[in-house]
C-alpha cells in the first residue's frame, strides 16, 4: 500500500494541511498582538512556535516542487506532527483555564478556533487506495474532503461524550464525514440521559470528565440490561497500560489514546460496529428461533393462532421460510383437526346407536376356557367376548397388574409345526414395538394345558363389523374418521416392519368415543401361512379383504394392507363388498379379474375425491396404490 498519489491529490493534501495551519498562525498572531499579560503572551508564543514547526514539517515533507507522496511518507509526516500538535493543545489549554474576571468571550472563542484547527490538522488523511485507483479518485473525488468518506464501513448512530467542546467538535465532524450520525454529550450525566432516551450503536467515551467520569459512566452502562450491549470505545489522553486495562475490565470494547490517529479511529470504530452488527444479528436470530419454538409448543397445546410468527416470517432467510411453512402448516393442522373431530363425532353417534344392540361377532362355539378358569396363575377368565378364525376371545383379569385384558386362544392345530410357533412368537415381539394409540397392544404369548393364548389390551367397544351389520353402511364423515385412524395405525406398524395381513372390519375396534384400534397385528402371520390360493382348501374365513398378490403368493409387502383398507372403506361407504360372490372361488375370481365399481356410483353422497382414493387403494397393481400408509394419511388430510 505504498502507492503513489497524483499531483492533484498532493495539491489537495497540501491544501488540507495548510488551511488549518493558516488559522493556527493567523489567529495566534492576532491574539498575540492583543495580549498584554506575560502568561498569555508566553502561551501564545508557544502556540505560534508549534504552529511554525508544523508548517516546517509539512513543507519539508511536501515541498511545492513535489507532486507525489507515498503512503509511508505521509504516515511518517503525520507521526511527526503529533508532538507540535500536543504543544498547541497544552498551550491553548493554559489560555482557556486561566482565570479571567473580565470574561473575555472573544478571546476564548479565538483560542478554541486555534485548538480546533490543530485537531483538524491531525485528521487529514490520504485518499484511500494507491496509484491504481488514482484516476477514479481524481475524477470522482476531486478533494480530500470527500475522499475520506469512501469505503464500505458500516454506518452507525454514535454518541460522543467529552467535556471538551473542541474534542467533541472534531469527533463530530470526523464521524459525520464517515457517514455516521452523531450526537454529543458534554458530560457523564448528560450521556446517560441520552442513552436512556434513544438507541445508539456505539459510544465514544472520554475518561476524564468533571461531573461523572468515563469509567463511572461505563460501569453504569454495563450494569443496565438496556444499554449493556452497546459497545463503548474509551478515549483518553491517559495512554498507560493500567488505564487501558481498567477500561477493558469494566467492559469497554476498545481504548484509543488522545490525540487519536484518524485512520486508527476509523478502523477501530469499523471493527466495533461490525462486531456489534454480528452480535445483533445473532441475538435477533436466537430470538426468532425462540418464537418458532414457542409457536410449536402453542400448537401442541392447541393455543396457536396463525400469524403469531408474522414477525419472523418476513425474514428472507431459511428461518423466515421455516416460519411461513410452519404458519401454513399450523393452519392446515388446525383445519384438519377440526374436520377429524367432526368425523369422529359422526362416528361416535353411529356407534352410540348400535352399542345397545351389539352382539358378539361370529359363530358361537363351545368355550375352550370356562368362566373362572385361571391361566398361568395370573389371568382370571371372566367371560367370552368373541370368537374368530383362530379361536375364542375372553375378557380376563390380570391378577398381577390388576387390570382387564383380552385373551385370545389359538387353535392347537395352527401351532403344530414348531417352526410356525417360533415365527409367530417373533412376529408378536415385533408387533409389540408398534407405538400407536390406534393399535390394540399385544402383551404376551403363553400356553395353558396345551392351549396357546395371547394376552392383549382390553378395549371396551364394538367392531366395525358390528357397526356395519347394524347400520348397513356408514356416512362419509364416519368412514373418513375410520380411514384416517386406520391409515395412522398402518403407518406406525409398517414403520416397524410389521404387515397386518388381515385388515377387515372384524379387526377394527371402536371405543365409545370413536377412537379406532386395530387388533391382531402379527397374528395373521399364523393364518397367512395357510391362506394363499394354493392352499385354498384350508382358507379360514373369507378372502374378500385380501389383496390379489397376497392371495397368489407369500411375496407381498405392506401395500397389501392398503388394498384391504380399500375394501373396508368401500364397504363402509356402500354397504357392500367391491368383489361379491356366493362362493369363495367366485369372490376370488372377481377380485383377481374385475375392477371395483366407483363407490360414488353406488352412493351419491360419496365425494369424487374420496371415491377416487378408495379405487386407488383397490388397484390390482400394488404400484398403482398410494406408496405407503403414511402417504394415505397425507392424502386423507386433504379430503373432507
Amino acid at each position: 500500500m505504498s502507492g503513489l498519489f497524483t499531483p492533484e491529490a498532493v495539491a489537495e493534501l497540501r491544501h488540507e494541511l495548510r488551511t488549518p495551519l493558516n488559522l493556527i498562525i493567523g489567529y495566534g498572531e492576532m491574539l498575540l498582538e492583543d495580549a498584554t499579560d506575560d502568561e498569555r503572551r508566553s502561551a501564545l508564543e508557544r502556540t505560534l512556535s508549534a504552529g511554525r514547526d508544523l508548517l516546517g514539517l509539512i513543507n519539508a515533507a511536501v515541498p511545492p516542487s513535489r507532486g507525489e507522496i507515498t503512503a509511508p511518507e505521509f504516515e511518517a509526516l503525520r507521526a511527526s506532527l503529533r508532538e507540535p500538535h500536543a504543544r498547541i493543545l497544552a498551550a491553548t489549554s493554559e489560555l482557556l483555564t486561566e482565570e479571567h474576571a473580565d470574561g473575555d468571550a472573544e478571546f476564548d472563542r479565538d483560542v478554541r478556533r486555534v485548538r480546533s484547527a490543530a485537531e483538524r490538522l491531525m485528521t487529514v488523511e490520504l485518499p484511500q487506495g494507491g496509484g491504481a485507483s488514482r484516476l477514479a479518485f481524481t475524477v470522482e473525488h476531486p478533494t480530500l474532503e470527500h475522499t475520506s468518506e469512501h469505503g464500505a464501513a458500516p454506518v452507525a448512530n454514535i454518541l460522543v461524550v467529552d467535556d471538551q467542546e473542541d474534542n467533541r467538535a472534531v469527533l463530530d465532524r470526523r464521524l459525520r464525514r464517515q457517514g455516521h450520525t452523531v450526537e454529543c454529550a458534554s458530560g457523564g450525566h448528560a450521556a446517560l440521559a441520552r442513552l436512556r432516551a434513544a438507541p445508539f450503536d456505539l459510544v465514544l467515551l472520554d475518561v476524564l470528565m468533571p461531573d461523572l467520569d468515563g469509567l463511572a459512566v461505563l460501569e453504569r452502562l454495563k450494569a443496565d440490561p438496556a444499554t449493556r450491549d452497546i459497545p463503548v470505545i474509551m478515549i483518553s489522553a491517559l495512554d498507560d497500560v493500567a488505564s487501558v486495562v481498567r477500561c477493558i475490565e469494566r467492559g469497554a470494547e476498545d481504548h484509543l489514546p488522545k490525540p487519536f490517529d484518524p485512520v486508527l479511529l476509523r478502523a477501530r470504530i469499523g471493527a466495533c460496529l461490525e462486531k456489534k452488527r454480528l452480535r445483533d444479528v445473532e441475538l435477533e436470530y436466537l430470538r426468532e428461533v425462540e418464537r418458532v419454538i414457542q409457536a410449536a409448543k402453542a400448537v401442541e397445546a392447541g393455543t396457536y393462532a396463525s400469524g403469531d410468527l408474522a414477525e419472523v416470517s418476513h425474514r428472507g432467510d431459511e428461518l423466515g421460510r421455516l416460519a411461513r411453512v410452519f404458519d401454513a402448516m399450523a393452519d392446515h393442522v388446525r383445519a384438519r383437526e377440526a374436520r377429524l373431530k367432526d368425523q369422529v363425532e359422526a362416528l361416535r353417534r353411529e356407534i352410540a346407536t348400535v352399542t345397545a344392540a351389539a352382539q358378539p361377532d361370529g359363530p358361537r362355539e363351545a368355550p375352550t376356557l370356562p368362566s373362572g378358569a385361571v391361566l398361568a396363575d395370573r389371568y382370571e377368565i371372566h367371560e367370552e367376548i368373541g370368537s374368530g378364525g383362530m379361536g375364542m376371545v375372553y375378557r380376563a383379569l390380570d391378577r398381577q397388574l390388576n387390570e382387564q385384558v383380552a385373551i385370545k386362544t389359538l387353535r392347537a392345530e395352527t401351532l403344530a409345526d414348531p417352526g410356525v410357533l417360533e415365527r409367530f412368537k417373533s412376529e408378536i415381539r415385533l408387533a409389540r414395538h408398534i407405538s400407536s394409540k390406534h393399535v390394540v397392544r399385544t402383551h404376551d404369548i403363553g400356553e395353558h394345558r396345551g392351549v396357546y393364548y395371547l394376552t392383549m389390551e382390553y378395549v371396551e367397544g364394538i367392531t366395525v363389523r358390528s357397526l356395519l351389520d347394524t347400520r348397513g353402511k356408514l356416512g362419509v364423515a364416519p368412514t373418513l374418521a375410520i380411514a384416517s385412524q386406520l391409515a395412522q395405525s398402518l403407518a406406525a406398524a409398517h414403520e416397524q416392519g410389521v404387515i397386518h395381513r388381515d385388515i377387515k372390519p372384524q379387526n377394527l375396534l371402536l371405543d365409545a368415543t370413536g377412537v379406532l384400534k386395530v387388533m391382531d397385528f402379527g397374528v395373521a402371520r399364523l393364518q397367512g401361512h395357510q391362506t394363499h390360493l394354493t392352499e385354498v382348501g384350508t382358507l379360514v374365513g373369507t378372502p374378500s379383504y385380501m389383496a390379489p398378490e397376497q392371495l397368489l403368493s407369500e411375496n407381498f409387502d405392506e401395500r397389501a394392507d392398503l388394498f384391504s383398507m380399500g375394501v373396508v372403506l368401500f364397504e363402509c361407504l356402500t354397504g357392500r363388498l367391491p368383489f361379491e360372490g356366493t362362493t369363495i372361488v367366485s369372490i376370488i375370481a372377481h377380485l383377481m379379474r374385475d375392477e371395483a365399481p366407483a363407490p360414488s356410483s353406488l352412493n351419491r353422497d360419496v365425494p369424487a375425491d374420496v371415491s377416487a382414493l378408495v379405487l386407488r387403494l383397490l388397484s390390482k397393481d400394488p404400484g398403482a396404490r398410494p406408496a405407503s400408509a403414511a402417504e394415505v394419511v397425507r392424502l386423507l388430510s386433504g379430503l373432507g
Partner: protein, 125 residues
C-alpha cells in the same frame, strides 16, 4: 481608507484575515464564493481584491477571468492577489495567467501580504 474585497469560502479564514486587515486600517468587504465575488467586483468601489483560489462553484482562477472580462468592457483594472494553500510550483504562473497581479500562499504571513497589498495600491499594475 483603502477598500479590499476578500473572496474566501472558509468562514474562519474569512473571519481571521478580515479582522487582521481591519486592524491594519483597511475597509474589508466579504464574498463567500466565486459568483458573489464576481458580482461584488462588478459593482465596483474596491481598491484591491484578495481572491482565494479554492472556491466552490467557480474557483478563484475562473472568478478572476470573469472579473477581468467585465473590466475589459469598462476599461478599469482592480488589482487581484491570489491566495492559495496548495503552494504548488506553477501556481503563481497559473494565477498570473488568469489575470492576477500577485500571488501569496497560506498560511498567510501578514507582513508579506501587507507588503504586496501596499505595492499594488501605490502603483496599480
Amino acid at each position: 481608507m483603502p477598500r479590499i474585497l476578500l473572496v474566501e469560502d472558509n468562514e474562519m479564514n474569512r473571519d481571521m484575515l478580515s479582522r487582521r486587515l481591519v486592524r491594519k486600517g483597511f475597509e474589508v468587504a466579504l464574498a463567500v464564493d466565486g459568483h458573489e465575488g464576481v458580482a461584488m467586483a462588478a459593482a465596483g468601489g474596491f481598491d484591491l481584491i484578495l481572491m482565494d483560489m479554492s472556491l466552490p462553484e467557480i474557483d478563484g482562477w475562473e472568478a478572476t477571468r470573469l472579473v477581468r472580462e467585465a473590466e475589459a468592457g469598462a476599461g478599469t483594472h482592480v488589482p487581484i492577489i491570489a491566495l492559495t494553500a496548495h503552494a504548488m510550483s506553477g501556481d503563481r504562473e497559473k494565477a498570473m495567467a488568469a489575470g492576477c497581479d500577485d500571488y501569496d500562499t497560506k498560511p498567510v504571513e501578514l507582513d508579506r501580504l501587507l507588503g504586496k497589498i501596499q505595492a499594488l495600491l501605490v502603483s496599480p499594475a
